[in-house]
């Protein structure tokens, strides 16, 4: 894993939405727009490994999900974010505030369904949707033979784990000074906090993510999609990628060699290359 210095300085905006969601961007301003949406459990730093593969010739925009990273927790409204719609609105609000057009959105994990919602609501805004480790429904549906990978008993366990790890999580919110001689290239950024998560927010988001069936959204997507699936993803069964491919009209399925739920972290080169290989050009 090596990260080159970004050739263009990262900028942050002064608008209310971009400030609230800690939106940052880099790359040439006239380049095609790639918007990265991170997944459950971390922040936009998750994309650090793939960023250099885009920032030369793309306007790369990243943000922190509300309740994560450097987003403004004081703006967290449990009602607004009681479904993914509030987060999908955030994506559209970022696009509107920065006047992003023809956007390629690359979304990971829980953000994939937010991106799907945003693309359904404003299809004209997006050129392409790239889904990394997407799971439209985590539970089983015996009626249709669908298996999202988790049983009801698993769900109870997951909720319990969130509870029992509460204090650890709360501690994780404090800034951490990272002395990592093995990875000096991260040193600078990591003197700040990493993967700061508000545990209450995480609990709510995980609850939504694990109990809501987003499958009905899939046929409504008209924007071209790319589905990236890694091997042995603990949160996404292998069959799910096929399901997505079958229900997203005209989608492209890319099977990665990378392992696990976060291929953009464990194998940023491969992931970036797979995304680039399927980027549409105007």
């Amino acid at each position: 894993m090596s990260i080159d210095a970004a050739p263009h300085p990262t900028r942050t905006a002064a608008g209310p939405v971009t400030a609230r969601l800690n939106v940052t961007w880099t790359g040439p301003e006239d380049g095609p727009v790639v918007l990265f949406a991170h997944g459950f459990g971390c922040d936009q730093g998750m994309w650090d490994g793939v960023l250099p593969h885009f920032s030369d010739d793309h306007r790369v925009v990243r943000y922190d999900l509300m309740g994560y990273g450097q987003s403004d927790f004081s703006a967290y409204d449990p009602v607004r974010y009681s479904t993914l719609d509030g987060h999908a609105d955030d994506i559209l609000a970022i696009c509107a505030e920065l006047d992003l057009r023809d956007v390629t959105i690359v979304a990971h994990s829980v953000s994939t369904m937010m991106a799907v919602m945003a693309a359904i609501r404003e299809p004209g805004r997006f050129r392409q949707v790239v889904l990394v480790a997407a799971n439209p429904y985590f539970l089983q549906d015996p009626a249709t033979g669908y298996d999202g990978g988790f049983s009801d008993a698993d769900m109870t366990e997951v909720a319990g784990a969130l509870d029992s790890n509460y204090f650890t999580w709360a501690e994780a919110m404090a800034p951490v000074i990272m002395g990592t001689p093995e990875a000096p290239e991260h040193g600078e950024r990591l003197t700040a906090s990493f993967c700061r998560v508000n545990p209450d927010v995480a609990r709510q988001l995980l609850g939504i993510m694990f109990t809501t069936d987003y499958r009905p959204l899939l046929p409504q997507v008209t924007v071209p999609t790319v589905v990236l699936q890694a091997r042995a993803d603990a949160l996404v069964p292998a069959s799910t990628a096929g399901y997505l491919h079958a229900h997203l009209a005209g989608s492209t399925l890319v099977q990665l060699q990378a392992l696990g739920h976060c291929p953009h972290i464990s194998a940023p080169e491969e992931t970036a290359a797979a995304i680039r290989a399927h980027l549409l050009t105007t």
């Binding site: 650090d48 001689p181 392992l259 739920h261």
Partner: protein
């Protein structure tokens, strides 16, 4: 001697694992195997996450792994490790990912048994959850209390505070952007039953209560789900809903319809029609004006209801914007009147009462005036009804009583009219006031005026409003030694049974009969009957409103004892009362 690192690895105080970048276990030390019961050979090549319960697996995958991959390190993640026997071992996990100097990246995991710490954490967590629950319970209890305070126990509808709360909410929430012609706006339908008193009197209170409950259910059923339905008092109901101007008539008609249906009470079919007045709020309302706007829209609907009732039963009238607005005027008036009492704008004028046989002044009636800063001197009919309905009459009446009694003492001191009686009016609301007797006694005692010099005039209508409690109050006043007069006699519906029991001293014959007695034989007969009745009961007969010498002569001929009116003197300020000589003779 070289330290035995191999032995340190195997038997370190903590459990240690090595993982490759695919998360597979490449080495496990003896401490780990002893702690979990797993054989080292079984662990090799197995995904580390398979040792975690599913919840921890999710957290590890979504939180710990990204952090480990990017920062190279995680510290003190709270996990459980599943042992060979299926038992879960609470542990704190730390890990570093090492890349330098190795053919492939390696993750070094240390697990420390955390049984005790986990127990503490669980206790803390339970306490936190319990605190959250108790907060939720307190909130629920408060909500239940509010519910209680805002509802009418008889019908379960909102009561007046509940309705005001709902109305304030609707007005306060109204956005400035929501207006436009045809928009639904908060609209009050003020409903008054027409036949309720007859039911209460004829079939008893329990039937009256039943009727109110039936009406309440019907109003609820006839209203939209989002509407607020309230019972304000007695048989007054309000339906509050967001209604477009065009929809108002429809809503009113539906409400009138459901109330026109007969109700069966104790086997008797009763028809209670209603009168409805409606008023739409003028939105949007500035936050500071919400309460005033709510009062105004209720008053306007109430006023419209009275207009509907005046035209007969079963009718609806809407408040007409831009028309003269008695409701708004009344609010302003009341506010000014409160200020007038405080700022000394009220005056008492005195009208002499003549002794007809002698032509001398036997007493004066105290009459309140309002020296209004812009409208000039106002007569009582301009403000007394509003004062009575709003309760301002209590303060106003108390002030007049005290002023009149003190004036009598001043006249005594000046020696102008020894033994002069001062008559003061007492309204229905004052009569119902439990403080009245004590207040009268206090005023007399402070001023040092003998009770027999004070006459309290109470209208026939006020006495008959609640005759039984009036009787109690009159007896208590009489016990003080105060004289009592029945005012406006002949205009109400006196029950002679009661009248006989009331300890009164005077009957004041209403001016409307006096005015007609020289031209109308009927009026003359009524006045004659009143004089006879008074004398038969041992009361003094007093004629009001005498405006001509003919009227005076006719009264003298009928044997009337006393009289007052413009012919003798208008009500005048205290220093202009014509003492001591008789006037007009």
């Amino acid at each position: 001697m070289t330290p035995d690192y191999a032995d340190l690895w195997e038997h370190a105080p903590g459990s240690h694992l090595l993982l490759d970048d695919d998360g597979l276990i490449t080495a496990a030390n003896a401490t780990f195997c002893e702690w979990t019961g797993h054989a080292a050979a079984d662990l090799l090549g197995r995904p580390f996450t398979s040792l975690l319960p599913i919840g921890d697996r999710v957290l590890h995958t979504t939180h710990a792994l990204p952090q480990l991959m990017v920062t190279g390190r995680i510290a003190e993640a709270s996990v459980q490790v599943i042992g060979a026997d299926g038992q879960r071992h609470p542990a704190l996990m730390g890990a570093t990912r090492v890349t330098a100097g190795l053919p492939a990246p390696e993750t070094r995991v240390v697990l420390v048994d955390a049984q005790q710490r986990r127990r503490y954490e669980e206790e803390l967590l339970t306490a936190r959850r319990r605190a959250e629950e108790s907060q939720a319970r307190i909130a629920a209890a408060e909500a239940a209390l509010t519910e209680l305070v805002h509802h009418d126990s008889l019908t379960g509808l909102l009561n007046r505070p509940g309705l005001l709360h709902a109305l304030h909410g609707r007005l306060g929430r109204w956005g400035a952007d929501a207006t436009g012609p045809g928009t639904a706006v908060p609209t009050v339908f003020f409903i008054d039953l027409d036949g309720f008193k007859a039911v209460n009197d004829g079939l008893g209170h329990s039937s009256g209560d039943e009727l109110l409950r039936v009406v309440a259910r019907r109003l609820e059923d006839a209203s939209r789900a989002g509407a607020d339905v309230a019972r304000l008092a007695g048989d007054e109901f309000v339906v509050l809903d967001d209604v477009s101007p065009a929809g108002t008539r429809r809503v009113a008609a539906r409400l009138l319809d459901v109330l026109a249906e007969p109700v069966v009470l104790q086997g008797v079919e009763v028809v209670v029609a209603a009168s409805i007045g409606s008023c739409a709020a003028e939105v949007p309302v500035a936050p500071a004006d919400v309460e005033g706007a709510a009062d105004l829209v209720l008053l306007r609907a109430d006023t419209a209801m009275y207009r509907a009732k005046a035209q007969g039963s079963g009718r609806w009238e809407a408040h007409v914007p831009g028309s003269p607005d008695p409701a708004a005027d009344r609010l302003v008036l009341l506010e000014q009147l409160r200020g007038a009492i405080r700022d000394g704008e009220l005056r008492v004028h005195y009208q002499p009462r003549m002794d007809l046989p002698t032509g001398g002044v036997s007493g004066v009636e105290a009459l309140v005036r309002w020296q209004h800063p812009t409208r000039g001197l106002l007569q009582p009919d301009a403000f007394i009804d509003a004062a009575e309905e709003s309760g301002v009459i209590r303060d106003l009446g108390a002030w007049v009583l005290s002023e009149a009694v003190e004036q009598a003492v001043r006249w005594d001191a000046a020696g102008v009219a020894p033994g002069l009686q001062v008559a003061v009016n007492v309204s229905a609301r004052q009569l119902a006031d439990t403080d009245l007797v004590a207040r009268v006694a206090g005023v007399l005692a402070r001023a040092g005026l003998p009770a027999s010099r004070l006459v309290l005039e109470i209208t026939e209508t006020a006495l008959m409003h609640d005759p039984e409690s009036a009787l109690t109050t009159l007896q208590a006043l009489r016990a003080l030694g105060v004289l009592l007069a029945v005012d406006d006699f002949g205009t109400g519906y006196s029950s002679f049974t009661y009248l006989k029991q009331f300890p009164v001293d005077e009957l004041k014959i209403d001016r409307s009969f006096v005015a007609g007695m020289t031209t109308d034989a009927g009026d003359r007969a009524i006045v004659a009957s009143c004089v006879h009745l008074a004398h038969a009961m041992g009361l003094v007969a007093v004629a009001e409103g005498v405006e001509s010498p003919d009227e005076r002569d006719a009264l003298v001929a009928l044997g009337c004892d006393q009289a007052q009116g413009y012919w003798f003197s208008r009500p005048v300020p205290a220093d202009e009362v014509p003492f001591p000589a008789a006037v007009g003779v």
